[in-house]
Subunit: 517 residues, 2 copies
């Protein structure tokens, strides 16, 4: 690794002539000591070195060359620090700025990239075989202090790694298959059209968002209640209400800017003063059309994302807190949330009830020591299987697959041999392809252990620094209702007793108008 | 009312000389017939008149003067229509455009404005005593057809009326006061701090949005269940799930652009392609800060508002439908929705648990013939009073106040003597001022009849065109929980039996960490 930084230190004034020799001595000394500090013995040549400098007016221009051990930008900051003490006491002169005007890093890569790569804050990036040359320009002190150069190199490696990873499919293996047959399924085609015809649902002007009328609402609620009564409560989960507006800072810690393209973002109005919005109402009243552009100008930049994973606030709840792992061994934290819908931006191409932009999910979240955390996840999985198998009588499959916490952080990591499975998906087999994707199946739940990924990102820890694990499980009543309908049909008499217990003797009806349903 | 329009008809080609006399005859005839059509007998002078015209190249320039009965812009469109037939058959020439280059309207106002007024699409607006002069320029055919000029005049009158209306307070009268005393209330100050200390709630990084932990979640759910079991079900309301993302078009029909400053708006990403968002993740990974500006550039213009009233989708459900009022007399449509939180932008100054940006509400919606609709609203009100009075033992007040449907449409209308009350508010009296407002009280429910306001705006109607009313009631478990806590305190033993019935023997606990709660 070779680094070459051309930059300058800007002083608060012009130094007297005699300072020249002072500076000479300073740089000579620095090259021997502070710019080598931290380099392992025998590798001092891979520390940093000021190879050129000159005093021009109120600027000291310099070139620093280094290897990996004292990066050139670290060297610049060290010089600035040490020099400011000397200049301050002797000449009452301070250092105003430390800037890298051109910073060139040559580094060896682990792998050759397969496709072109872009990097931010970079003027030039060239890759030849396994050698990358990155040129940054005009990087100021705060950027250097926050270690942009090293972060850039890390990001470069991440992007190359991602090119070698080919998505979920290659890491997915089926670990269990139910033995039931599809021949029992009452419906042979997607139920959406029939549900619309019967008025169980009605289209809403927004793809993947539906009006849910009494019969279908009753089915969704029945399933939600089954999940709570048969899984959450027996396993000791307690209800919490997790917010649905996720501040950008929490989104960042969760890693969600890696999937910003799938999140729906939220912008509050720039002001609560109605006067600011008068022209919007004027426009609507005169034109009779929605004031899209005008409104856009009256919004703040995005402040929140709409809850995507549902569990985002759970990790934030413990941000900066210290937990006691021994307490968690006895009493792991186990919550569930069913505080309304969550959202994923699936785009405008959604057609059926199976894949939605706004949907219902019961989310389980838990925190425990590693082994306990895996155990909790597996207990929820067992009970979910019983529900799908015995109560709903569906054909299904369990897959072990890519860790969801990496996926949700947009991180593509090559799978290693692991001691345990991070994510299980529960997928129901269908007798036809769904409306929105060419798949004769639907994933209806997933079961996760996150290791200490979120503990680290949200900065919570055990008081003795033992490892704290978290996990979550999402079970979507919206999708459970869909597959239940396919298996048992629209005739209430045919529905499983467990569901009917929650709904009662009769399924609620849809009111009739002259034209609908 | 005097209208003067200077404009032109643009032809698809230049007419031959002989057309000049044809046009002369046409305008003479038009001034007698088609430009008078619709003016009442004896008021023909208040129809329209072409007072000047000339054929210049491919344009016919003209001036039209009119009174109120055939507005000058209507006259222009009539002329264009009639002339295009003649020119088409005789000269194979069409009319490409009809434009009002300058359109001046002088009109008498009902009232003199109290403050300056602005109007869109208007070059000049002058008001002298009760005479307004509005000058519009470059108004094209589609704008004239959609009747912008008349809509502008209506908007002008609305804005003047609004200046004479001084808000809710002046139209509010108390119709009932409970006799209970505040001395029974267990808490003498706002419970927020104690709730935070006990870990019943935790701050979330977003004002007016809270993490709700098991004990407080249990209280909110108990109240929600009471509302459903004691009010919704006995009165025959059925559960529906109303969407939370309200498309701009529905917002418009609901009238919500009148309160755009209180709504939180939603912008999906411009693309689902992760490549489009690569630089956002780059930025986050390098800088460690949320990519506010970058993200803003990657969002579509606002597509939805977050549900504010909760009932928005109910009216959309019936948009364009025809109902049978006789069926509705026997079986009025009665739904309730508790499909998660809704949102109001109260700004960043929120401090307590009483006023929130994200909050819970059970929303009742109903459609019926007028008398029946009022009856339904009054039944819900009666039962809500019983709950607040008998079960929760609170001191409260019922006010008759401004119609909420006007308020939510940003319409300030002077109250007239009415045959019935459109909106009742149920307000609980508190022994202290709340955190976010200098009021020792909190409105916890409101009860509405909308007349046929939404039937008209969403275009649904009875098949025999009899009047269809709608109404809604919002009861907020978030606020009920807050006042219940103040009345009965944090000690579970002291809570009303009705609430304890839902929660069980013990209130669920908050997990303890070393540092929280």
């Amino acid at each position: 690794m070779h680094l070459e930084l051309d930059g300058y230190l800007e002083l608060s004034g012009v130094l007297p002539k005699e300072a020249q020799s002072e500076l000479e001595a300073f740089f000579e000394e620095a090259n021997k000591k502070i710019l080598k500090k931290g380099a392992p013995k025998g590798k001092e040549s891979e520390g940093a070195q000021v190879t050129k400098w000159s005093l021009k007016g109120d600027k000291i221009e310099l070139r620093i060359n280094s290897g990996r051990y004292v990066r050139a930008h670290t060297a610049l900051l060290r010089l600035s620090n040490a020099l400011s003490k000397i200049l301050g006491s002797k000449y009452h002169t301070g250092i105003r700025k430390s800037v890298a005007t051109t910073y060139k890093i040559e580094t060896e890569l682990e792998k050759t990239p397969l496709e072109p790569i872009t990097l931010p804050f970079t003027k030039e990036l060239t890759i030849k075989d396994k050698t990358a040359t990155v040129i940054m320009v005009e990087m100021d002190e705060s950027e250097l202090k926050r270690n942009y150069p090293d972060r850039l190199l890390r990001r470069l490696e991440e992007k190359i790694t991602a090119q070698y990873v080919h998505g979920k499919a290659e890491y997915t293996r089926t670990v269990e298959r139910s033995h039931k047959g599809l021949e029992k399924y009452k419906l042979r085609e997607d139920p959406t059209e029939t549900a619309v015809k019967l008025g169980w649902v009605k289209e809403f002007p927004g793809a993947g968002i539906w009006q849910i009328l009494p019969p279908y609402a009753a089915l969704i609620r029945a399933i939600e209640n089954m999940i709570i009564d048969d899984i959450a409560k027996p396993l000791g989960f307690q209800e919490v209400m997790l917010p649905r507006l996720i501040p950008l800072d929490v989104e960042m810690k969760k890693g969600h800017f890696g999937i910003a393209n799938e999140i729906i973002w939220v912008c509050p109005p720039i002001s609560r003063d109605p006067k600011e919005f008068e022209e919007i109402l004027d426009y609507v009243e005169i034109t009779g059309t929605p004031p899209v552009e005008l409104l856009q100008k009256k919004l703040r930049p995005p402040m929140f994302g709409l809850a995507y994973a549902q569990c985002e606030p759970f990790y934030e709840l413990f941000a900066q807190e210290i937990v006691n792992i021994e307490d968690l061994e006895k009493n792991p934290i186990k919550f569930y949330d069913k505080n309304g819908p969550t959202w994923r931006w699936e785009g405008g191409g959604l057609k059926g009830l199976e894949r939605l932009n706004e949907f219902h999910r019961v989310e389980f979240v838990y925190m425990a020591p590693p082994q306990k955390c895996i155990e909790i996840r597996d207990q929820v999985l067992e009970k979910a299987k019983t529900m799908v198998d015995k109560d709903l009588d569906l054909e299904y499959r369990i897959d072990a697959t890519t860790a969801v916490y990496l996926e949700h952080a947009g991180i593509a990591e090559e799978q290693k041999e692991e001691e345990f499975v991070k994510t299980y998906d529960l997928t129901v087999i269908l007798p036809f392809e769904t409306k929105s994707r060419p798949e004769a199946e639907l994933e209806i739940s997933s079961f996760h252990v996150h290791t200490d990924f979120y503990a680290k990102r949200f900065h919570f820890r055990d008081k003795t620094r033992k490892t704290v694990y978290t996990g979550c499980v999402g079970m979507g009543p919206s999708r459970y209702a869909y597959v239940t309908l396919i298996r048992h049909g629209f005739n209430y008499d045919d529905w499983p007793p467990k569901i009917k217990k929650y709904i009662g003797k009769k399924l609620p009806e849809v009111p009739k108008t002259v034209t609908w349903p």
